[in-house]
């Protein structure tokens, strides 16, 4: 497990949620949290305090929709899944993200070259 955890930039959290839900299966909040944590091997840690407001905000914007279901452990849980609007949002954010990464990558490369 890496020693450093990365602070999430505002907006990145929403992107990550969209991306995670785009895999298809509806997920509840804790499940989402664990999945992101495990997939990044703990590098990205999301706080509960920002996850739930983000989920509810995204539901309000109709990017995701929540439905009540029953979890594996027999508990009633609220499951989220991506809507069509959310899928569109993901595509456009993905572009932004790619551009951002490329741009930052270039600057980093140039700066390294100068050093």
């Amino acid at each position: 497990m890496p020693s450093e955890t990365i602070e999430l930039v505002q907006g990145t959290l929403e992107f990550l949620i969209l991306k995670t839900l785009s895999r298809g299966d509806p997920m509840h909040g804790f499940h989402l949290l664990r999945w992101i944590h495990d997939t990044t091997e703990g590098a990205l840690s999301i706080e509960e305090g920002s996850l739930y407001p983000a989920l509810h905000r995204m539901e309000r914007r109709k990017w995701i929709e929540g439905q009540w279901g029953v979890s594996e452990k027999g508990r009633r849980a609220k499951y989220y899944r991506l809507t069509n609007a959310g899928r569109k949002q993901l595509i456009s954010q993905q572009k932004h993200w790619d551009n951002y990464v490329t741009a930052v990558g270039k600057i980093v490369a140039t700066a390294e070259g100068m050093a």
């Binding site: 509840h28 909040g29 664990r34 739930y52 407001p53 539901e59 009540w68 279901g69 609220k78």
Partner: protein, 887 residues
């Protein structure tokens, strides 16, 4: 993991009602539980895990509050969109079901579209001519000021002195303007044309609350004697003369040989005082003189002050009336009468014709609605199973009703769109049919505007409700039994439902019978009108009417000279046999009305007094040239003039006054205290005032002694009149190139125009009745076909038991004809009941004319027979084996 989406609606419904706080609480608690489980799996003790989970979560209250706020918003959105969403769903469902049964949807939309479209088209006309407020600002405040005789008879115009005095003194008016129509000749175009100009005071536009589209309106300075003459054009003339070019402003046009500067153009919709008299507006000069012509009479229009009602205005007008005789000695005991400007829209016969048409299309619409109900209930019967299934799955009665109504509304709105298209497409033809005399009276343009669209929409919605509600209620109410299949049977064979459909058919037949009977009577009457002998030889006869401008032909001598030369010149045109001058030619001539005809030395006959007496002032050769037979006495000669008061009357009048005695040399008068007329000759009856002469059956001819400005010439030709007309026009312009020709047409056309009004009514009623008949045929066909389908089993059993197929056919036919027969009987009763209403529309036909009613009943029965034939034949094709096997 369990995926909840399959039963998503159930869950949605379950959670909807839960409060936002509870939902958030549940979600967050679930998170903590999962987290504790997770930590315990990692090896933590449960107590520690619980503390750790709380620690990780941070400020749970803050998160809860934020989430609650967001969730509450979502809840509101959901409940708002829920209704909308389900309507969209209903709509989609409706459209899908139309796709599944396209012929059903198309038939219904066509039927309703025709019904709504006909009403929309007629409404467009009725609204423009009779209903829509006039196109001025707050038109209800506009009033006309008119002089009224002591006998309460309101006179159209007032003298200029009186008009000016009223305009000055009427203190109950906010604004007031004078206007008078003058006929001017535009003489700088290709051909001299007569245009209708209004000489108006500059206050007219402010009074009406209108402003020019381009340029400016007449200013007070333009009214000063000697000011440069200015003209404001109507939009139509601007387009015609200047192709809507703004450069027209400042240009000049020649009117009555005087140059007028164009200073402005009014908006397209502006007409004042009506369409037929709105080519341009020129300044009415303060000295009441235009090009040396004195304008002697005038009309006054004003706008009531805000707080003054009509009653108060009338009271204050009466006070003003006391000085009337002082201002103008010609009005000794008269009063000033205030009447709303839009009180008079059209003559009573126009009102009657338009409302008759409106009634006809409403009947047609009712028939269309009847068909709609029938079609939809047949559809409803076919889908009882579907509805039953939906209701047993828990759909509420209201929900199903709403879905069914959405379907019928969608169909009705589609019909409404079709109706608008039909109305728009037929409008040109429709306005072409309306007699121009009616169209030109309206200040409103006959076009499809907001009101018409609103009308079509409301009528469509009403149609949707009417056609949808009955079948839908029947379907939903039928849910008494619990089992789907039981209900299926129950509905499909319910005799009550068929009863409703059958009574609808009877009603439809009755309605269309009434419409057909009325139409039949009007057609019959019109044919009789067309067969009326005009009393003169109208073949090879040309009419020319000329209005000699006062500025070119000031004296009687000048006018006499002109017409003498015109007669000579026209007689020289090849193909012309003879020419005569008269002040009027059939079917339009001068007349007097409200008369009492009495022979000298006898009491005035009480019965049969004419309302109108047509008068024609004619030359001695008039009778011979028109081919009017001289029955007794002589025609005019050089000894007759205005002083001799010698007249020629027609045979009907001679008989009315003197019976079989000879009228020659006898005297009569038409008003008390008037001088006596002496009869010198009797001629055959002529329809001087048009073929329908009910109001003017007695004709009086006087010798033509005074040649006035407006005269007509009758030209007898040996060639085809159409060939002779161009050289005649050229001959007139040879005499005076600036002389406009007001009318040049054949006598045949002129007589035909005199029945434009009845023709308009006959044509449209025939179309409406034809469509109604077709709709009824469709209705009868539909109901009988459905009945045959429903009775397939019974028919099959009958065939199996040995019934002849012809007997089955008869059975179905009898069924259909019985329904029709009942409808025909009721409809005939209705037609007779309406006879009082229709009587005044008829010429020489009784409203209960048995021949007409029998023919109409025959047409109805024959149509029904055809409509019954196909279902009846289908009844004979029932294969008993198929039916019995299905059993």
């Amino acid at each position: 993991m369990i995926r909840p989406w399959g039963i998503h609606r159930l869950f949605r419904l379950a959670t909807r009602r839960r409060s936002a706080a509870r939902v958030v609480e549940l979600e967050l608690r679930h998170h903590l539980d999962e987290c504790v489980d997770f930590l315990v799996e990692q090896g933590m003790s449960e107590g520690r895990a619980r503390r750790e989970a709380r620690r990780r979560f941070g400020s749970i209250d803050a998160v809860r509050r934020t989430c609650e706020e967001i969730t509450r918003d979502v809840e509101q959105d959901v409940s708002r969109s829920e209704t909308f969403h389900s309507i969209v769903q209903d709509l989609r469902f409706a459209l899908r079901s139309f796709q599944k049964y396209p012929s059903f949807a198309v038939t219904l939309v066509l039927t309703l579209g025709l019904g709504i479209g006909a009403n929309t088209a007629i409404f467009t006309v009725v609204d423009a001519i009779l209903l829509r407020p006039l196109p001025y600002e707050r038109p209800e405040e506009l009033v006309d000021l008119k002089p009224m005789t002591p006998e309460q008879f309101v006179v159209q115009w007032t003298s200029m002195d009186l008009g000016r005095a009223w305009a000055r003194e009427a203190d109950f008016l906010e604004d007031v303007a004078l206007h008078q129509q003058i006929s001017v000749v535009r003489s700088d175009g290709d051909q001299p044309v007569v245009t209708a100009a209004q000489a108006v005071t500059s206050s007219l536009a402010p009074t009406l609350g209108v402003a020019p589209l381009v340029g400016r309106w007449i200013a007070p300075e333009d009214q000063r004697p000697g000011a440069t003459p200015v003209a404001v054009l109507s939009h139509a003339r601007w387009r015609e003369w200047f192709t809507e070019d703004r450069a027209a402003l400042g240009r000049s046009i020649e009117l009555n040989q005087v140059r007028y500067t164009v200073i402005g153009v009014m908006p397209p919709a502006f007409r004042f005082p009506r369409v037929g008299a709105s080519d341009m507006w020129i300044a009415l000069p303060d000295d009441n003189t235009i090009n040396g012509m004195d304008i002697a009479s005038v009309s006054v229009i004003g706008r009531l002050q805000k707080d003054v009602g009509l009653g108060e205005a009338r009271e204050r007008a009466t006070r003003l009336s006391e000085g009337l005789g002082v201002i103008d000695s010609r009005y000794p005991d008269w009063t000033l009468h205030v009447k709303p400007h839009d009180e008079w829209r059209a003559n009573p016969d126009v009102h009657q014709a338009l409302w008759t048409l409106a009634a006809a299309v409403v009947l047609m619409w009712l028939i269309a609605v009847g068909n709609g109900v029938n079609l939809l209930s047949v559809r409803a019967a076919a889908r009882t199973r579907e509805i039953a299934l939906r209701m047993s799955l828990g759909a509420s009665r209201l929900r199903v009703l709403r879905q069914l109504l959405t379907e019928s509304f969608t169909l009705a709105l589609m019909s409404g769109v079709l109706a608008m298209a039909l109305a728009a497409a037929s409008l040109a033809a429709l306005t072409g049919l309306i007699p121009s005399s009616v169209v030109s009276l309206s200040a409103n343009q006959i076009d499809i505007g907001d009101r018409v669209i609103g009308f079509a929409f409301v009528l469509s919605a009403l149609t949707g409700l009417l056609v949808g509600l009955l079948p839908a209620l029947g379907l939903v109410r039928a849910r008494g039994s619990t089992s789907v299949s039981a209900m299926d049977l129950h509905l499909a064979s319910r005799p009550g439902k068929t009863g409703v459909r059958r009574s609808l058919i009877v009603a439809e037949v009755a309605l269309s019978m009434t419409l057909l009977a009325g139409t039949g009577l009007v057609i019959n009457s019109f044919n009789r009108l067309l067969r009326v002998e005009p009393g003169f030889e109208e073949e090879n006869l040309i009419y020319i009417s000329l209005s000699l401008p006062g500025y070119s032909y000031e004296s009687t001598a000048a006018r006499e000279d002109f017409f003498e030369r015109a007669e000579q010149r026209l007689e020289a045109v090849p193909g012309v046999q003879g020419v005569t001058v008269a002040d009027g030619l059939p079917p339009s001539t001068s007349f007097t009305f409200g008369v009492e005809v009495v022979a000298e030395g006898e009491a005035a006959p009480e019965a049969g007094q004419p309302f109108w007496i047509p008068f024609s002032n004619v030359r001695p050769d008039y009778f011979e040239l028109l081919g009017i037979p001289l029955v007794a006495g002589r025609t005019f000669d050089a000894t007759d003039d205005a002083n001799t008061r010698t007249v020629i009357i027609d045979v009907d009048m001679a008989e009315f006054l003197w019976g079989s005695r000879s009228p020659l040399g006898k005297r009569f008068r038409i008003e008390e205290d008037a001088d006596w007329y002496t009869v010198v000759g009797v001629v055959g009856d002529v329809k001087l005032m048009g073929l329908d002469d009910r109001r003017g059956t007695y004709e009086v001819y006087r010798p033509l002694t005074d040649i006035r400005g407006y005269m007509s010439l009758a030209v007898r030709t040996s060639l085809d009149p159409e060939q002779v007309m161009p050289p005649i026009r050229a001959a007139v312009w040879e005499l005076d190139a600036d002389q406009p020709i007001t009318r040049l047409e054949t006598a045949t056309d002129a007589m035909a125009e005199s029945v434009d009004g009845p023709r308009f009514l006959v044509t449209l009623l025939t179309i409406a009745a034809g469509i109604a008949l077709a709709l009824v045929a469709i209705g009868v066909y539909g109901v009988l076909s459905f009945a045959v389908t429903q009775r397939t089993r019974e028919l099959g059993v009958r065939v199996a038991l040995g019934a002849q197929t012809s007997a089955l056919q008869h059975m179905v036919l009898r069924d259909g004809l019985l329904l029709t027969g009942v409808g025909v009987a009721i409809g005939l009763g209705g037609a007779v009941g309406l006879s009082r209403v229709i009587r005044s529309l008829l010429f020489n036909v009784e409203p209960t004319d048995p021949a007409t009613l029998m023919v109409v009943a025959g047409v109805m029965m024959a149509t029904a027979m055809v409509a019954c034939y196909f279902p009846a034949r289908r009844a004979t094709k029932v294969d008993p084996m198929v039916v019995l096997r299905a059993e």
